[in-house]
Structures are given as C-alpha cells and as structure tokens.
Amino acid sequence: MRCSFRDAMRALFACASVLLLAGLIMTAPAAAAPLAARDGADLPGKGTMRLGVFSPLTWVVADGLELETHPLITWVAPHITARYRRGELGPVRLLWEGGLSLPTPGLHIAPPGLAGYLGPSCLVAAAEAERGGACEQGDHVLVLRAGVVASIGEGDVTSLRLDGAYGVLLGEARPRPFDTWAPLEVLLAPIARGSRVHAMVRHDRALHDRVRVAAELHVWRVGGVESDMADRSLWTFGGHLGVDVALTDATRLQLGALYTNTDSRRAVVETNEDGFGERVFVRTQRIWPTFDVVWSF
C-alpha cells in the first residue's frame, strides 16, 4: 500500500471529525427509541419505510416481509428485492431474501444511464446502422439473486450473510467484463461475468442510544468468462468500518470506510538482477469512503 503522510493526515482528520460528531450526539438528550442495528436478520415494524440519499427505498409491507427498490434507478434498471424474516435456530434469527433485476438498460442508454461511462454508447451504430456491427454493448441480462442472513444477539448483533447472484443472458452476447473499480466490479459481475457469490460477517454494536459502530468482513468470488482478457484472480476481499448516528429519531447518518483488496491487473515495474525491467502484477488495495443519510417514516 502506498499511504502517504498526507493520506494519513486526511484519515486522522476524518476520524477526529467522526469522534467529535459522536461526542456531540452522545451528550444530547436520550432518543425516544435506541438506534437499531442494521443489515442483519431483523426488520422494522410493519409499514416502516426507509429511504436514503443513495440507499434504496425499503418498505415493510407486512410483518416480516420487506420490499426494496431504488425509486430513481428502477426507471433505467428495473429491480426489486424481497426479504422475509422467518425461522430461528435457537438464538439465531434467519432472514431470507430474493431479488430480480434487469440492469442492462441502464448500461445501454446515455445519462441517466451509464452508456458512455461504464460501457459503449454506440453513437455510430445509432446514426448509421450499416456501420453498427461492432457495437459492444451486449445483450440484456436478467439477474436473479438469493441470500440468507443469520443474526444473533439483541443490542449487539452479529450477522452472517451468504448470497449469490446469477445473470441469465437474454440473447447471444454477454457484455465484456467491465474491469472497473472493485466495488463496482463485484456489483456488476452477474451481468458480465455471469455470477457472483458473497459472504459477510458483521458485528453491530451500540455505543449509545444514538450511536452504533459496525465492522464487516467480506469475500466475493465472481464468475470467470472467456471474454475476460485480464487473466486475473476472481477473488475480492473487503472490510468495512462504519458509524451510524441518529441525527433525529427518524434520521440516521451513516459514515464509514470500505477497504477492498482485489486483482485489477495492476502492474509495477521491477528491476531484475541483470538490471532490466520486469512487469510484476500486484493486487490493488483501496479505501473507499461511504456516506449516507437515511430517513425512516
């Protein structure tokens, strides 16, 4: 890792800011209800809806049944996820989830889609069909997803998540692997690489009625496809540290940092014993800031 002094100072400043904010919150009057753990097997009460600046809309439509979609993105990439809280193994609570999405329209159209950024816009093909034989957008892919979350503990919650996604090609040509930044690459893997499996362990701990901290460890494995020219490892590892602060009883600030370790075919030049250069491939390590404000209503 190439962390400079400047990077360290930035991280220190960010941590100090978070601690200051947490300190202010912790000295505030107690909340009507303690801030709940998240991303585990538990769902809020029937009728609860949540929406973030970036996070999708979730709606508990019945006791133990939640639906999720992003109200803006679904116009260019229709998707829905259902979560069903059912089953216990002693003290372990289980949440089952399944999802369906058709993300590829979002990759085929210009903004608000991602054509021209993550994928080709094929402007020539649009203007002159006879020259358009080489458009590399690929056909549509339907993504099916299933997962299970097991949680234990009440105030301090530990969860284990296992999920997988499979991309069903609706045509002949699957889009080429995007070879992009690690979080996006695993997100888009079912489209271009056919599949993704994911395991996560999360511990979510209350520091105060209004403040929670959480730590996560992740492992992803994406599918291998013939069109992958990179010849690289399919495994990505990650860790996330986050703090959630209740700004009001209905408003939750989420801050964190995600560490990813992946093979993005990054190369460095080293000098061999004869004094000549050699290209050596190394894994890419990054820290990504995460941020959101989520409202419950």
Partner: protein, 401 residues
C-alpha cells in the same frame, strides 16, 4: 444502482460508492491514475527473451530507423473516437494478429532503431497485451524503453477501463540510459477529465554504439487541444532536441502538418455530419510551428522533395483515420491524406542518400526515386501499412558520425 439492485448488501455498496468513487482519490492508498508529477525521470529498459549480440555498428554507423504510430495494435478496427465505428476493446487474438503484421514490417525493413507511438502494455482495450515485450520477443530488436503517457486504473469513458499507453524506443543496440521528459498538459479540460487524460512526454534513450553513444527521441504531441498545448509541446521538443550534445534522432507523431503543406483542412476521413463527441474534432493545423525543425535539423523528407503540389505531397502522407476497407459519407475508401509523422536528425549526422521514405502501400518502391536514366534497384514493399494502423511508418538510414 441501489445496494439491492444486483444483490450486494452489507455496507450497501451500490450507487453511493459509484458516486463517491470520485472522492476515493482523497482516501485511497493505490492511486486511481498516475499524476506523473515529475519533470524528468529515468525509466526501465526491457530486454528480449531471445536477445542477441548486435556487435559493433562501426563508424559511421548506418542505423536503419523507423518511426510508427501503431494505434495500440488495433490495425484498422474503427474505434469509437474514430467516429467511423463503435469498438471499445479487442480480443487477444485480434491484437496478436495485428502485432504479427506490424512485426513483419519491422523485419522486412530490418530495422535497427524503432520509435513507436501509441503502444500499450497493460490496457483493457488491447486485451492487456504487453506490446513492448511482445515486439521485443518477436523481432530482431533486443532492448526497449517504454515511456508511459497514460496510466489509469480505470478510465470511465465508453468503458475504456485500465489504460497504460505510451511511446517506446526499441533497438538492436544496447540502451545505456532511458528517461522521459514531461510535456505541458492541456489547460482546457475540467479537473476530473484532466486527471484521467493523457500526460504527454518526450522519450529519450542513449544508444551504446560500440564505444560511443547517440541519443534517440520519440514524441507524440496532443491532438485535440484548443488552448495551444500542441504548439507548446512542439516548441519544447525543438528546444530539447536542438540542445542535445550527442548525435540525435528525433521521430514520432507530431499531429501537425509540414510547413509547406497545401491541404490544411477538409480531409476526406473527417465526418461531415455530427455523430460523435466534439471532443475528438480536429482543431485547425498550424504548420508554421514545424518550420524550426526544418531549419535546425535534417528532415527525412526535405521540403523540396515533399513537393509543391498536392499530388506530389500525397506521396508522403502518413495518416488517415479511415481505412481502405471503409468508406466515408461520399462512398470514398480511406487512403493516406496528410503528413503528421516525421524523422529528423541533428545537423552533423546524415541520411543515407535515397534511403528515406514513407511506407504507404504494398508494392511501392522504397526510397527516393533514382536520377533519370539510372537503374531503379530499390526494394519493393511486401507489407501493406495502410491496413496496419491509421499512421504510416516513416523510414530512413541514419548515418551516425
């Protein structure tokens, strides 16, 4: 895309990370791109796996030199920024097939010193082929220096992805020293685009020719700026090369016309209808900026030979976006239509008489036409450069004193 869109939960690393990715440079430990914050920097020298001893070239050394923009091994595949096609990436088989054809030209010309522009070593669009090492391993060239000008982990433009593009100098003779000299950047780009954009550099090596050395420079200047960047880069190249103490060869793609060029605009490979981004529109040429090179160095094609009519000058054109198997909006197939590529040597060196040329078409005779009545024993070009890149190779035998 939301956290649940494709099935990633936990920290909900969906759209917010896509958007916050732009902030990652503030916190990441591996850079998203190479900012190239140096002025002059040594670079590594690579060696062919089958390197041989070229021996002493003698004095004067007659070095067969060639400069060629090889369009990252894409041959005549129309890429999206060409505006005649939509391709954004190639398969390994396509790249290797194109490189094999490039290597054939190098072997056919029996090149001693090769200056390459738009060569890639680890780019998604060229299937991550290390073209420097591949060409070293598949030609008679023994050593090479690579001067990267565009190194980004991921370029979020048409899915371009990982990019490592640059220029290179490959040589049969040992490279004693290799360095890159930074050129000025564009100032007419927004900061985000600028961060991911090409950072031009002059590549310089010192060849070990027996007991003495010679300098070789490779350049590729800006193509699409509207703020005078290319003119500044060309002026810097002139200053660096004319200040060189060693015998010197300069070559590359200057993205500029010769001072006496007659056709300055309205090229047949330019689109008349707006289809693509204006980012790739050709700004007006300024041929006068090339005059100092003709004044202070020795061009491989002097202006007298370049000609005074468009028909004469066409013999030395080196560039066409459109290939021979594609047609423009008037149904005309592509052919070389302007000169952008050059070779120059220092005033004390010389070009072997009759050796210099532009390698344009299969079947052409290579070199200057013999005097009237003299026997024409010039070799015939077996390869077809028009199908191998959007630039033609420029060739000459450099007599190093």
């Amino acid at each position: 895309m939301g956290g649940g869109l494709l099935g990633i939960r936990g920290p909900r690393i969906g759209l917010r990370l896509l958007l916050l990715g732009t902030l990652a440079a503030l916190a990441g430990c591996d850079a998203l791109w190479d900012a190239q914050d140096w002025d002059r920097e040594a670079v590594a020298v690579f060696r062919a796996s089958n390197a041989t001893d070229p021996g002493d070239p003698g004095q004067p050394a007659a070095l067969r030199t060639m400069a060629w923009n090889i369009k990252y091994g894409a041959g005549r595949i129309p890429f999206w920024f060409d505006c005649w096609g939509d391709r954004v990436a190639m398969d390994r088989e396509e790249v290797i097939a194109n490189l094999e054809a490039v290597a054939k030209v190098i072997d056919e010309m029996n090149v001693d010193v090769l200056l390459l522009e738009e060569i890639e070593v680890n780019s998604r669009r060229s299937a991550y082929v290390d073209m420097v090492q591949w060409l070293l391993d598949h030609t008679k060239l023994n050593q090479g220096a690579y001067f990267e000008t565009w190194d980004a982990d991921y370029v979020p433009s048409e899915g371009l992805g990982r990019m490592n593009l640059g220029n290179a100098i490959l040589s049969r003779y040992p490279i004693a020293k290799a360095e890159r000299i930074r050129q000025v950047d564009r100032t007419d780009l927004d900061p985000v685009t600028n961060a991911f954009y090409i950072k031009r550099a002059i590549g310089r090596v010192e060849l070990q020719l027996g007991a003495r050395r010679a300098a070789v420079f490779v350049v590729h200047t800006e193509a699409y700026d509207n703020d005078g960047t290319k003119q500044k880069q060309i002026a810097q190249i002139h200053e660096v090369v004319t200040g060189e103490a060693l015998p010197a060869l300069l070559g590359g793609d200057f993205n500029e016309l010769p001072p006496s060029a007659l056709k300055l605009s309205g090229f047949p490979d330019e689109r008349e209808t707006a289809v693509c981004s204006a980012d790739f529109a050709q700004p007006p040429y300024t041929p006068d900026v090339m005059q100092p090179f003709y004044d202070d160095l020795q061009p491989w094609i002097p202006l007298a030979r370049y000609g005074a009519t468009e028909a004469e000058q066409a013999r030395y054109f080196t560039h066409s976006v459109l290939g021979p198997d594609e047609t423009n909006e008037h149904g005309e197939p592509g052919d070389w239509n302007r000169t952008l590529d050059y070779l120059f040597i220092d005033p004390k060196s010389s070009w072997l008489a009759g050796s210099t040329d532009v390698l344009q078409h299969k079947g052409q005779r290579i070199g200057a036409e013999p005097a009237a009545g003299a026997t024409d024993d010039r070799p015939t070009l077996a390869s077809d450069p028009l199908r191998l890149s959007d630039h033609a190779p420029v060739f000459g035998v450099w007599e190093v004193p």
